[in-house]
Amino acid sequence: MKRNRLISILNNRGIIEAISLSLTIILWELVSNFIVRNPGKLPSPYSILLAFCDIWEIIPLDIGISLLHFGIGIGAGAAMGIIVGMLMGWFRIVDRIMDPMVEILRPIPPLAWVPFAILWGGLTHYAAGFIVFIGAFFPILINTYTGFREVDKTYIDAARVLGCREEWKLIKFIALPFSLPFIATGIRIGMGVGWMCVVAAELFGVSKSGLGYRLFQVFWPLHMIDKLILYMIILGLVALLLDRLFRYFVEEKLFKWKRGIVIAK
């Protein structure tokens, strides 16, 4: 009897997850205090909590600056990614012209772009935004492109037969609404990659604050490992929050109709 009750409690949402998380933290605390015993290598969760209490005042500023870099990059990435993706997806000739450049540039890791960004953009917020842009642009481009390519011919035929003749009208009324879920997926992926690029972007000191800046320009040279790990955790949490917010506002609300689509190919 006891076993059944235990199982039904465990099946409640979040119980097993909470237990797992708590056990991990406890295990970490034990390992760092009794096995590693070197706060320079593995600070304990408690010391990270203390570090948080120590510097919580600058955290909002750093998050704010990093979000600024993130915003610049995502904004530019979405604008350009959607436009280029749309043109490449809809017009074969544009695809053929742009494809070689895209295929060569796309695999270059954003971190490798950092020196280039600094040389051309100086140590400014825009250079940082550029690195985020590099991370976000290609996923958005490719997903937009796919969306425009996947538009069912029947929709186009139906539209034409209903009097929608001009190319731009077909794009506006048919291809674009159809592609919006693809674009949303692209933006979501782009946001994930872009946020990871924020640290790379801030590595070289483009600004006087920011999560990546403080991690690499302050905590690392000063051997403040507990604060360093705290910032790692913050980076992860912000990414999680951004993703969940996006999914909630954009995907849940705007794309209910996607559920019904079966793309018959």
Binding site: R37, L119, F204, G205, L222, H223
Partner: protein, 371 residues
């Protein structure tokens, strides 16, 4: 129950054995250094084989040296246990020792020797520190000598290093690239970088570090605490070799430049020679002369929140070995041989078994509930 006890005892035994068997022999000596003319002593001793020759009688078979772009990354490596000896500024060890590095400064390497270089246009109009307001200056990362001296000097001249000047941490290579590309307005770097920039017409020196802080300590010889405690004779020989190399360089400055150019690939030997002519630094070896300025760095670091406590001479220096080498009687109140620090991390019997007990308890609880 019997089984449980015997398993526990076996574990305690094993962990006990592991603790006792800590290796004590030094077969390989690992040295860290930076690509700066401040540290040519290390390079001379290496190139001429003096390290190998002098340390062989202590059983050292192999000597390696690793280049670091600046002090903070060098300290990170030493904290990770990858270096035994470091040629480094006296400031990086302050933050490292504060965070648990077991090491001490046993000799000095150089004083002064850094310079603030501004791009040509800005240099021409430079009259006083106030002209630096709103500029971007690249220097070594936080915790380094350059960073500490620059910030102290700015504060002394009424400027707020955080707000009035945008200070960026970088290695010498990046910083030179940045000033040449116009990405930063100036750099504050140790020799030979300032001369390299000047000879490329990418900037002009406006202030020497010796003007900012006269006779300030720069590089030193930092040795791990374990080496000092367990092999003091070896450390004394390291000091002796360092003294010889330093004296040699002082008498053969042209050759020193050539040694540097061979060691740090891609450097133009003419530029190095010119740098040695132009710099305001000196190659030294007496640790005592560095104590005062280093304590000033410790104070600056403590005030800026870089360290948790204000470090003292005892925390940072061990001059006893140098004194023995030079036959100096220890002055009253000088630092005694390095005391044994907190035990370094090793799995000890008590705590391994604690974990095992915890795991067993969880197991018992689960069995109890028949899962």
């Amino acid at each position: 129950m019997k089984k449980f006890v015997s398993v526990l005892l076996t574990l305690i035994l094993i962990s006990g054995i592991i603790t006792v068997c800590g290796a004590s022999e030094i077969k390989t000596l690992r040295i860290g250094y930076q690509p700066s003319t401040h540290q040519i002593a290390e390079m001379t001793a290496m190139e001429k084989g003096w390290w190998t020759r002098d340390l062989a009688k202590f059983g050292v078979e192999n000597i390696t040296d690793t280049e670091f772009s600046s002090g903070p990354p060098e300290m990170t490596a030493m904290m990770a246990g990858e270096l035994d000896v470091a040629y480094v500024g006296t400031a990086p060890p302050i933050t490292a020792i504060d965070k648990g590095l077991d090491a001490k400064i046993v000799a000095s390497v150089n004083t002064n020797g850094s310079a603030l270089v501004l791009s040509p246009g800005l240099a021409a109009n430079y009259t006083s520190p106030a002209d630096l307001k709103g500029l971007k200056i690249a220097t070594f990362p936080q915790g380094s000598i350059q960073d500490t001296i620059l910030k102290k000097w700015l504060k002394d001249n009424g400027l707020d290093p955080g707000r009035d000047v945008h200070i960026i941490g970088a290695g010498p290579g990046e910083a030179i690239t940045e000033i040449m590309a116009g990405v930063v307005d100036g750099v504050f770097l140790p020799a030979p970088s300032p001369t390299i920039i000047e000879m490329a017409d990418a900037g002009k020196t406006v202030v020497y570090s010796g003007e900012m802080f006269p006779n300030h300590a720069c590089c030193c010889l930092l040795v791990s605490g374990r080496l000092i405690r367990e092999h003091p004779e070896l450390v004394k020989q390291i000091i002796r070799t360092h003294i010889n190399a330093t004296r040699y360089n002082n008498e053969h400055k042209e050759e020193a430049a050539e040694i540097y150019a061979r060691k740090v690939r891609g450097t133009d030997v003419e530029k190095v020679k010119e740098s040695i002519k132009r710099w305001d630094g000196a190659w030294v070896y007496d640790p005592h002369i560095e104590i005062n300025s280093t304590l000033v760095y410790a104070k600056v670091d403590y005030e800026m929140g870089y360290t948790n406590k204000l470090l003292t001479e005892e925390d940072l220096f061990d001059t006893s070995l140098y004194d023995e080498v030079m036959g100096i009687a220890p002055a009253p109140g000088t630092v005694s041989p390095t005391p044994t620090p907190e035990p370094t991390p090793q799995p000890t019997p008590g705590f391994t078994s604690l974990l095992v007990i915890a795991a067993l308890l969880v197991y018992i609880v689960l069995r109890r509930f028949k899962i």
